[in-house]
Symmetry: C2
Subunit: 149 residues, 2 copies
DNA sequence: TAAAACATTAGAGTTGAGTCTAAGGTCAAG
DNA sequence: CTTGACCTTAGACTCAACTCTAATGTTTTA
């Protein structure tokens, strides 16, 4: 049986994180020593690794809790339940990428329009664009054709 | 002069948010009524719109504070200061997109490998992949050589 | 045997950008 | 004159996933 710092080293989760995950109901040490120390077995290690893998992919702790309950009794859960979680996450990811791509486009346009030099900013087209009050939201293509200098 | 709910409606920022921004040092009402009510003028409206525009693009409140200080005295600031902020933000955005793209790829592969049907999950390749303990991280390149149903 | 290293717990703090509450003051209308 | 809509403040709460602290107990090692 491993003490908490040993399973921590083995799994790459910190002792703090392991105790936090326990509080969240994700993982428990299967035994305690006389003194109350957490003691982890092989199955605990595999479970911790499952959690870390899922976390690294990007699943929330809530998602992971559900995945763990499926893992506990695969026979009474379906592939659909599993894909529902993955698809939900993927939809979130798509949405965030869309938002970020819009931000990227706007920032690139702004940067392309500004000389970026050591001259004073009285003529700066980025400042002008921000002052333009044209609420440029996330989707759709923007113009911002103010050429500077 | 506009009361706070009036400028709120005009700018699309809530009264709570306006007061919060004031606490953060971004914007002040240029006057107060006898009773202590905030009173905003035209310049305040333009400033609030500047803030909203910058926020919608994705700048942090800290970035916006700097942009506002530049805006206050453009002559003693340079285009470079402005582009530094925009480029910093753009770098952040690139990084997040990279992370999310990795997550997207992983999730798509997982989803492609799973039948997603009403059958029980004892054979589920997503569950298998999560149990595989192959630590698939977000930064750096991933392999994602998954086994199939 | 004593110091170092590790363990326990409850609980507070972090980050960012708000959101909301309580307890009260002010103002226009009926 | 009272109702309701508005305004004020300080401060607490929200979300997510940790991260850290304090105070104390245990185990290992020199
Ligand atoms: Zn310039
Ligand atoms: Zn410029
Ligand atoms: Zn299946
Ligand atoms: Zn499956």
């Amino acid at each position: 049986m491993l003490k908490i710092s040993e399973i921590a080293k083995k799994t790459g989760l910190s002792t703090h994180t392991l105790r936090f995950y326990e509080k969240q109901g994700l993982i428990n040490a299967s035994q305690r020593s006389e003194a109350g120390y957490r003691l982890y077995g092989e199955a605990d290690v595999r479970k911790a690794e499952f959690i870390r893998t899922a976390r690294n992919i990007g699943f929330s702790l809530d998602d992971i809790a559900v995945l763990l309950s499926i893992r506990l009794d695969k026979a009474s859960h379906t592939c659909q339940e599993v894909t529902d979680i993955a698809r939900g996450k993927l939809d979130e990811v798509y949405e965030k990428i869309t938002e970020l791509t819009a931000m990227k486009a706007t920032l690139e346009i702004l940067l392309a329009s500004c000389c970026g030099g050591p001259e004073d900013a009285t003529h700066c087209s980025i400042m002008e664009a921000l002052d333009a009050s044209e609420a440029k939201q996330q989707s759709s293509s923007g113009n911002t054709a103010t050429n500077e200098v």
